[in-house]
Amino acid sequence: MIRSASAILRKDLRLEARTKESVPAMLLFSVTAFVLFHFGLDRDSLDGELASGVLWVTLLLASVIGVTRLFAAEREQGGIDGLLLSPADRTGLFLAKAAALFVYLALVELVALPAFTLLLLGPGLQPELLLILLLANLGLASVGALVSALASEGRARELVVPLMLLPLLTPLLIAAAGATEPLFSGDGGPEDLGRWLGLLSLYDLVFVLLSVAVFDYLLDD
């Protein structure tokens, strides 16, 4: 299972490296959103709740692009039949897709965060943010892979993905933004960090288990 998963993951990453469909688009979207927020809020620098809200809402919306494209190649060019006919099992497919999304998100954040710091953020970045990003990406990746597989069943993929993904991510946004807010406040250390990280981990755990459990049924022809 690990072998087939890593083979599919390598295939996806190579495809992305050659076509450059998702990551550059997500990145461009994030930077554009920061510029829009600058004008929309009419502020030169942000801190505290506003900064963490702008950052997380932007990352969540950017992830919609990646999630919409995640199963696109398989569905549009019939690759999904090949994958389903191969002995690779469904859980492996799910893990590979979630891992691919995780990598995309990490790459996007690698550039989007410095851009955010440069363009909008008042106080500097703190190392705790890495942990929050890690847990949030894990949740985003598992929910994203599930939503992408679900939405790619029908014709209305572009419509269903954002409508389904964003409400599902509300708890993640609450926890991630809540955990990030004290880090961006400039003063004082993170107070409720532990509780928010606990909520994030619980969310990740539930959705990873749930996605693995239902994924078998979804792609079963």
Partner: protein, 230 residues
């Protein structure tokens, strides 16, 4: 015809429970000292919310049953349960807004975690329709809908926990507004109203199932009639 079984006694029970419930609300339950007459919307709003949430979770359980047994009738049951819960959910949001306006002065109050979580859940379930009807193949439609119903059903409790957590850091809630410490008359009235709402839900669910089943049988018969040599 199996769907229609028991529909008549169920409908009668619903009518009786609703009438008794409303009679209790208006003539038996005391007028709330703090909020006055408006508080009586509580007997519609809260049972509706509880039944809608139970309906969403029940839809998820029926979806599990569908994936396990591959019996399309369980998918239909799950679909109708979610459909009915969405309709009740709209009622919950409207009555909640009226209650909020009357007792707090605003149509929408963001620091009421239950109402906010309910809105998020409602928005999520609204995607059920575009998802379901964008898939043509009936078997895949049933499967994708079931997977959605299960994921969304599991999402309901997490979402409530998260939204409540987001609030409780800033405003600790000592006593929940809709909590258990109601005086006796109010509690009895509330329980009767809850039972009436649950019966109403089950009756409507059965009715809709029956009508969907009848419509499908009719369509099948028409196709056979059209195909038959005249």
């Amino acid at each position: 015809m199996t769907y229609a079984r028991g529909l008549k006694p169920l409908s009668i029970a619903t009518v009786v429970a609703t009438v008794v419930g409303f009679a209790l609300v208006f003539f038996y339950a005391p007028v709330d000292a703090d909020q006055g007459f408006v508080q009586k919307i509580f007997y519609v709003h809260v049972p509706m919310a509880i039944v809608a949430l139970c309906g969403f979770v029940a839809g998820g359980l029926m979806a599990i049953k569908h994936l396990r047994s591959r019996d399309p009738s369980w998918d239909m049951r799950s679909y109708v349960a979610i459909h009915m819960s969405i309709i009740l959910g709209l009622g919950v949001l409207i009555t909640g807004a009226i209650w909020a306006k009357a007792s707090w002065g605003h149509w929408w109050v963001w620091d009421e975690p239950v109402l906010v979580s309910f809105l998020v859940v409602f928005l999520l379930y609204c995607v059920y329709y575009p998802l379901r009807f964008s898939i043509e193949d009936p078997e895949r439609q049933a499967r994708a809908s079931s997977v959605f119903a299960i994921a969304a059903g599991a999402f309901v409790p997490i979402n409530f926990a998260a939204v409540r957590l987001a609030e409780s850091f800033t405003h600790p809630r000592v006593l929940s507004q809709t909590g258990g410490d109601l005086p006796g008359e109010m509690r009895l009235t509330f329980l009767v109203c809850l039972a009436a709402m649950a019966l109403l839900f089950v009756t409507l669910w059965k009715l809709e199932l029956t009508s969907k089943h009848a419509a499908m049988s009719l369509k099948r018969l028409r196709t056979r009639l059209a195909a038959a040599p005249s």
